[in-house]
Symmetry: C2
Subunit: 151 residues, 2 copies
């Protein structure tokens, strides 16, 4: 979706544009590598929170357990994650990043932080504190609205 020809672009439009640009860039960057957006989300969660069961993964990603089975199948086939037996529950498995993939994700996390810094750098120094406060307030307000609509 392009924006350059819109006259009345709202603040929300700009915020959504940022999300779209980011996602498109990720998709292009990983096109043909087997790192699809859904699989990257799995790896991202495992990097952040460590090994967990598929149930926990399903709750964290807000998808069905069946969906997680498919994603983990693919990631296991490509050697990015490993299914380990759960130490105390023989029904469950622990999904964990392989060492090589953990290193890849650490690098991605670093690049993500660098991109964040680069973007903040585009903001006038005098505006930066206000922007950080404002974006936090907007995200919190939107989260509250969605929570309400959900209930």
């Amino acid at each position: 979706m392009k924006y350059h020809h819109d006259v009345d672009v709202t603040l929300l439009d700009r915020l959504l544009q940022i999300g779209e640009l980011f996602q498109r860039d990720m998709a292009r960057a990983f096109a043909g590598t087997g790192f699809t957006p859904a699989r990257l989300r799995v790896l991202w969660v495992l990097q952040h929170d460590g090994a967990m069961t598929q149930q926990a993964l399903a709750a964290e990603l807000d998808v069905t357990p069946r969906n997680v089975s498919g994603l983990v199948d693919a990631l296991e086939a490509s050697g990015h994650v490993h299914r380990a037996p759960h130490p105390s529950d023989r029904r469950a498995v622990l999904v964990e990043l392989t060492p090589r993939t953990a290193r890849i994700m650490s690098r991605m996390q670093r690049e993500h932080a660098e991109l964040s810094a680069t973007l903040l750098d585009a903001v006038a120094p005098a505006d930066r504190a206000a922007v950080e406060r404002g974006i936090g307030a907007i995200a919190d307000r939107l989260a509250a609205l969605v929570e309400d609509a959900d209930a």
Copy 2:
């Protein structure tokens, strides 16, 4: 994806969270109505830019013409768009919103603007101008980075 347990949430994380929350809310709001995200994007473009060929739609949405055929098929079957003959090119068709759907999209556009205002309202008055400037600067910087990566 949840954020409440993260300690080092970057500015970019917050921005992406806003996009995720919005998309999730849209998906929940229209679940079971046939208004899927991809079809809504088609309607949104037609509302903004008016009737256009499927080629133009494909370029605007950044998907293949084949994909557009499927989306327009579904939207035509549900009575939301209409395929009209192109006045000067018999190969092409003009996809246009039906009157009823044009009214629905006008209402959505109004609600979208209202949500934008509500979110800006969550920002401290003294910060609002800086936030609007800052988000614009961030979006522009990211667009430039993606453009570079694309080339």
